[in-house]
Symmetry: C2
Subunit: 464 residues, 2 copies
């Protein structure tokens, strides 16, 4: 047989196999529909993680046996599962309102001239250090208005390195660091580097909604460990251990936590890192609230993680949200992959902003001042909340939020949030944005003491 004929014959077989694939999907969909019908009839939940895990294990084993790339097999499985869920019928879409959506809505209302008590905003109302404003402006007039490398300007990278050395006695190399356009982009780049479609990442809930949203965008799954107010928002090492799924690649830790203000002990933190080490997981530690901590706060830099990515930002500590600048630290290899993503999507952080950020890192007086102010706000908010019998809360160890829970079992915080906005001109963020917490809502302490007091009193009034 000539090569042309040979090729044509093989290609026919490839086409047949491709056709078979579609047939297989169709057959699988038919099964999914039948399963969906039974679940609907019996009022069973549509999703069953145990069943999915079995399929994940099956695919891993089969791929290994048949010499097929495991990551590719998991991606195909994920595509099949998504399609299966689509044909099983409409998912129960409970209305999800994230803090970002709440802010957008509040901004619209404010633009129409109505004054609001903004307890939704995840940004402090403090002013950026004067030295940062001066240095940013100076750099602007010095024509630091050009592209920089994706890593960031060497002066800022070194300044971050020295800052972390001072703070956590961690000796990094400049090649293990990069400047990011905000903490959010750092988290995205960290996840995009660590996890692929069809894989999963563990999250302790309640937590910042962006983690789940970014995972969904990547096509990966969040595996969640639920913590409760009753347990003081404390995750157990066992619950984390047992929740790890066969396709779990990373775990996100973030203390002080958004929205609870919880800080776990450094020894608990280390115990969780050990589990991650044992199971080959990357620890992604988002340490953005670390300067608003009122009990000893763990850092990944002091926990001997084998694989980790630290993300942080200038936003909260120095009230620089609107600068969009943060940083990440990991191995040289991971950072170089994260830099590729930053290069591809955005080139670099504005040059003059990077020059300004350098000055933040030696603005210790402002850090102390902001931290003390936030501590006082936590105390004020706690006193006000104590007066409201219908709410329970755990006093935050840090961060800039309180996450109270209504005593009433059937409380719907999304509905409450809407009523509070309409009737009391006060904005908060409903609990469902942070996980399965319909009875909770987040109060941000980013506003003045007066606003916090007034806002919480409005909450009390509406609760009656």
């Amino acid at each position: 047989m000539g090569p042309e004929k040979e090729l044509s014959e093989l290609r026919h077989q490839v086409a047949d196999k491709t056709k078979e694939m579609v047939d297989l999907v169709a057959a699988r969909n038919a099964l999914a529909r039948s399963i969906g019908a039974i679940k609907m009839r019996e009022a069973l939940p549509l999703e069953d993680l145990g069943v999915e895990d079995d399929l994940v294990r099956l695919v891993i084993t089969e791929c290994e046996e048949r010499g097929v790339d495991v990551q590719m097999g998991l991606k195909m499985l994920s595509t099949l599962l998504t399609e299966g869920k689509r044909v099983q019928g409409p998912q129960s879409k409970h209305q999800l309102i994230t803090p970002q959506m709440m802010s957008a809505r509040a901004r619209e209302i404010e633009a129409s001239g109505r004054h609001l008590l903004r307890l939704d905003v995840g940004e402090p109302d403090f002013r950026p250090p004067r030295a940062v404003l001066d240095a940013t402006s100076q750099a602007l007039f010095d024509f630091k208005t050009h592209y920089t490398g994706a890593r960031g300007i060497p002066e800022l990278v070194s300044a971050v390195r020295r800052y972390l050395e001072r703070k956590s006695h961690y000796h990094a190399k400049d090649t293990e660091l990069m400047v990011t356009p905000g903490g959010r982009f750092g988290v995205y780049a960290a996840l995009a580097t660590t996890v692929k479609e069809g894989e999963s990442v563990m999250i302790v809930e309640p937590n910042w909604p962006a983690y789940k949203e970014v995972l969904q965008y990547i096509g990966a799954r969040a595996v969640t460990v639920h913590t409760s107010l009753e347990e003081g928002w404390e995750p157990s090492v066992e619950s984390i251990q047992t929740a790890i799924r066969p396709n779990t690649r990373a775990i996100i830790l973030s203390y002080p936590a958004n929205p609870t203000g919880k800080i776990i002990t450094p020894s608990k933190f280390r115990a969780i890192v050990e589990v991650a080490n044992d199971r080959g997981l990357t620890v992604i530690s988002d340490e953005i609230y670390t300067d608003y901590a009122y009990i000893p706060c763990p850092s990944i830099l002091e926990a001997e993680a084998k694989k980790f990515i630290l993300t942080s930002s200038f936003s909260k500590t120095w009230a620089m949200t609107g600068f969009r600048v943060g940083y990440a630290l990991s191995s040289e290899e991971i950072i170089s992959r994260m830099m590729k993503i930053e290069s591809l999507l955005i080139t670099s952080v504005p040059e003059f902003i990077q020059h300004g950020a350098i000055r933040a890192l030696d603005s210790d007086p402002e850090v102390s001042q902001n931290s003390a102010a936030m501590k006082e706000r936590i105390e004020v908010a706690s006193r006000e909340l104590d007066d409201i019998g219908a709410l329970r809360y755990v006093r935050p160890d840090g961060a800039m939020y309180v996450f109270p829970q209504a005593q009433e079992e059937r409380f719907d915080s999304t509905e409450f949030t809407m009523k509070l906005l309409e009737q009391k001109g006060t904005t908060i963020s409903p609990g469902s944005g942070f996980g399965n917490y319909p009875r909770c809502f987040r109060i941000s302490l980013g506003q003045s003491r007066e606003t916090i007091v007034e806002g919480i009193r409005k909450i009390g009034e509406l609760l009656g």
Copy 2:
């Protein structure tokens, strides 16, 4: 049969189908290996777009017949094809050096103290308008240092709307506009909104490498239409028509073009848009160099495209590369999807930068001045290139580059670029970054007249 038993039976069948899928991939891989072996033996190219197109058509038809989601089918096919290529053996990886990589390398060398003639940089050396610097600095000291909505501050959005009205007599609504962190992010968000894994986008080459890189990141394919210096870098409507593949969703147009400086006539542009309209393609028009145009330049706003996304930036016209700010215009629905991506990955563009950008839009004297300076540089570069017999080039109609081609048939511009850097301290970007142009290289005119003259003379010296 009880529901538990029924479910368990169905789940067994699902597991069987999942196993079959892996078997099918393994069988398909075996076929791919055989095909790869024959191609290697017969020295045939590993990739055959015709064959892929047949498979794409087969999947579309089969999915439609069997009630399987087509987009999902194309994604599975794409995964299979990628795996197939992986097992066919190593792809011929010709060394690709993009302008971004070249800049990174040049910056490293410069950091070590060596002076370079930088003809690689894709940014003008002009200064941003003084009014922009003043307004940015003023906004900074006015504490415009907060998150904004992903669309951008309303004042800037309206200013962009009015600017486009003035420039192209196009009446947009503010809801059809958004501010982006640079033109690059605009292009990413446009593509991420328009094309999914397993689909493709048409690109006229040579062109900015980012288009292909972003498509690859998304998992989509670039379908390229090759143009040549001999044809004056002019694409034919027919070549575009015939290159459209069954999974092609969009076409990227960008005039004046990077790296050739080519501008096609508005009537040719409209003819291409008509093809896109007929075939249901979205036209993504990157109009970043539009103010450096020395013959009439088409805009998507004057071409009656049914579906389009305009992306642009403040970077080139106003020399604001280091501000990372641009804008996009499309339908309300597309813009709202692009805003979701911006929200998710980066929240917003720095607030004070947005305030500064407003002032760029009424900096007409600077636009004229920069445009005139670039025109003169094109003339200077052309005169210098005319003296080098070993090079041919088409005189740019606009933009800020020249893309000459060596007369010598076996010229390797990547090798030449490296030699030029080492022996002559001069940086250019090799043609392979922009498509299949090993005999070409890009000279950037972003530097002073003196640098351009000296750099081109070094090129002439090395060519001997």
